[in-house]
Amino acid sequence: MHSNRYTFLFAAAISVITAILLAFTSESLKPLQEANVALDKKTSILRSVRFEGTDRTVIENTYASQVQEMVVNSKGEEVSGVKTEDIVVKNELAKPVGDRNLPLYVYSGEADKKYYVIPLYGTGLWGPIWGYIAIENDFNTVYGSFFDHKSETPGLGAEIAEKPFQQQFQGKKIMDDDNQFISVNVVKAAAKVSFGDEHRVDAISGGTITSTGTDKMLKVCMEPYLAYFNKLKTK
């Protein structure tokens, strides 16, 4: 039997050693991890405009040359002095709509056609879900979408991160004929709704809560941008 003194010393020693090890690894790997997170964000934005590349340098170059970052507010004004990388969408959503800084990524495609990429953030079943949706320069048609999640159920809710689900959004409309915001609704195939097929995509069977979360996230995150879009439309 070890003495109390020894037990305490052993516990203290092992705590200190493991803490140093962890702190050291964490600090030394931090730059790499942060670079990965930044690259992941750029990749996600490019995925929403149907960009398929996986090579690191290609992604960096495409992003640098074709994506312009900007910040707007819900009154439709461009906000200067705020950088998109400093904005956490989750924190912005907690503020009243009028106070939010809204990051917007403008992708210049072929023949200078512009696509407006809106960041999305919401709640799934087990944790956060997020994504990007790209709107064409008619400010109505969805060009593409990208979704990801932290911990949705594989095979059910996690399907939002898969291509078949995301491709459904291509070509859908977010505004109705009277220029009212309808969003793209994630609803069950059998659901009877008042809007047409161009405003709906099929929800995931077995992933109802994630689907509803995605639906809500789209509405909540896209709506504040409409003022800015309207401004551009009338220009």
Binding site: T18, L21, Q33, G155
Partner: protein, 225 residues
């Protein structure tokens, strides 16, 4: 012609061979005779949670094998100096340390994999197999057999995970490793994926069937708890 005779240095008789019978047993017994899931009944919880698809199941198995092997090694190395009263806390610290290291390294060098695994990697800390083997084996054994035992148990766990995941993915989603394996023709003629398969109870049934099959084949296991 002179015949050269090489005189072999007499082997140290006390030293055990690297893969002696006992060590081989430490490595291979957990694959079948002493499988952590079906015989020791450890690690059932994660076997229900991560077997919906084959790929996460495989990566989970690799992660657990790594953690079980190295935590067994470390614990066996310091087993004599660990105070008995806080031994489980010490084991837990070592396990958590390794898991966090794995997580950090994945985040830095294999970001895609780490994104897929974020939840599962953390789950390894609470996996009963790791601590079960530390308590039952590594605390009383030399480092090398303990290391082999860790690998063996990780692989034994992995076998069950992959077998269960194959059934669940094929019958639950019609895919294997993400590729479609059930032809569209079946669906056109009224076949539907089994919704139960993607839910945890399906894993329980499958593990039950596996145990049944294993015991009908392996007579050593009859009357073993």
């Amino acid at each position: 012609m002179s015949v050269e005779t090489t005189v072999e240095a007499p082997k140290a008789t006390k030293k055990e061979a690297l893969f002696s019978k006992k060590n081989r047993r430490a490595l291979f017994d957990p694959l079948d005779d002493n499988n952590p899931i079906t015989v020791q009944v450890l690690g059932i919880c994660s076997a229900l949670a991560v077997t919906v698809q084959v790929k996460p199941a495989m990566i989970m198995a690799v992660g657990l094998t790594f953690v079980a092997a190295f935590s067994s090694l470390i614990i066996a190395l310091i087993r004599d100096s660990i105070p008995g009263r806080i031994r489980m806390i010490v084991q837990l610290i070592i396990v958590a340390l390794l898991v966090t290291l794995v997580d950090q390294v994945l985040k830095a060098y294999m970001f895609d994999v780490s994104k897929k695994l974020s939840v599962f990697v953390g789950l390894i800390i609470t996996n009963c197999i790791v601590m079960g083997r530390l308590e039952a084996f590594a605390m009383a054994q030399k480092p090398w057999p303990a290391f082999l035992d860790g690998i063996g148990n990780g692989l034994g766990y992995g076998i069950i995970l992959v077998v269960v995941a194959v059934f669940r993915e094929v019958f639950g989603a019609g895919t294997l490793l993400g590729f479609k394996v059930i032809p569209q023709w079946f669906y056109d003629h009224g076949y539907v994926n089994n919704g139960l398969m993607v839910l945890p109870p399906a894993a329980l049934f499958l593990i039950g069937i596996y145990i049944w099959w294993q015991r009908s084949r392996n007579t050593k296991l009859v009357n073993v708890s």
